[in-house]
Assembly symmetry: none
Homo-oligomer: 233 residues x 2
Amino acid sequence: MSILSETSSDRGTVTQLRAYLAQAELPDDGRLPPERDLSEALGVSRTELRKALGTLEAEGQIWRHVGKGTFVGSRPIDTFADLTALARRTNPAEVMRARLIMEPEIARAAALTATPMQIAEMRACQARTREAATWRQYENWDHRLHRTIAEAAQNIPLLGLFDTLNALRRAVTWGRLRSNPVKPSPDHHSFAEHQAIVDAIENRDMNGAAAAMRTHLRTVERNLLDRQTLPGE
Amino acid sequence: MSILSETSSDRGTVTQLRAYLAQAELPDDGRLPPERDLSEALGVSRTELRKALGTLEAEGQIWRHVGKGTFVGSRPIDTFADLTALARRTNPAEVMRARLIMEPEIARAAALTATPMQIAEMRACQARTREAATWRQYENWDHRLHRTIAEAAQNIPLLGLFDTLNALRRAVTWGRLRSNPVKPSPDHHSFAEHQAIVDAIENRDMNGAAAAMRTHLRTVERNLLDRQTLPGE
DNA sequence: GATCCAAACCAATCCAATATTGGTTGAACA
DNA sequence: TGTTCAACCAATATTGGATTGGTTTGGATC
């Protein structure tokens, strides 16, 4: 017998199941009873019921998921709607790569559209990172700098994506221990790199801004991978 | 006394609190001890501590949330929750610009990492768009093509951002009616443009892929702005 | 009488333990 | 063989209790 064909009893269970679906009163979300209950209700073994459910799922009539249950209709599209779900499937290195792809282009756009006020704010953030007394403060201002650049791109959707990526970064990095010196050293690589980025933006040098941001993030990436104990930027 | 002014003891507590923040070792997430503990540690009443915390929160130094706790820094923004809020503040042109910034870079990355299977799927999608009998079908396969390219970049966070942007696109375009001819004309601009993108990816031509994607999206953008009644791609 | 404080209460949130649920395996059995 | 049943597994849901910022209250203090 071919793998695809069904035994006569299977066919019987499938039709029985179809009848049940047509008649049964299902809750709002279209969920049907757990297999254990349903098999008893229909008077068939769970094994047999599962085979029948399998055919119906192959037909697209129902969909199932462990821990959730079995539902009529088609499986909702998996559009990473959930941040935590996303965070579980990725890692810091991947997030870093994503930043490396996105942020240079954001910086490029910012070079075109940044307002004087925004540039001034970037300078301010830059100064604050230098004065930071702790890594925490440093990171706050560093993040604020990067976000100001994203704001300067004058594009709401893009800013939304930036925020999303950052939320993801926090979710993924979470639990990472910070061994650490007390504060960033005065010759920390980021200072000069930040400077280069903001300079390029101020000069309306789009390619320069993108390149500077890329350089910066590459350094951050290297630090992240080499000595994971240190915050990267 | 004005509502805004502080008593002398309040001022004292605020400075005491500032000192504490500067000196204290905070956990990774910047959370500070619960009010009940902190008030005892600082030797002030909870009422007074709360007033001081209120001042600091007004200054933007900290943020608080019931059940969560009190944290230093600025309140995080959760983008996923309010996609609709995001959609309300933007418009199709801005979303298009965001795509124009993101997708070429995604295509560039895809040129480097796409698997033969993924390239085959791109070809399949491409063929399906040509055979589409309705605009709806066309759009389905077009979207699938673009998403396959995003998948080919082999980067979960990036794919998440792509999905987010697409969800946003749907939310913004929503309600826009599609007048339109019954189906895409056989010489629709996208066919050749899609071809160029997939070709470049197959040839591992990163710059070519990015350029082809940019060209494609520019055409889409032009169509979107000119005759908004037609679906762009 | 006006403040201030401690305690109690409230609702949102977190957290850990427990229960469900689809998926899988293996032994018993026909 | 092929079926059934029970046990187990991992993902998810659910539940109850503990935390935590926010609010109210009654009494103490000056």
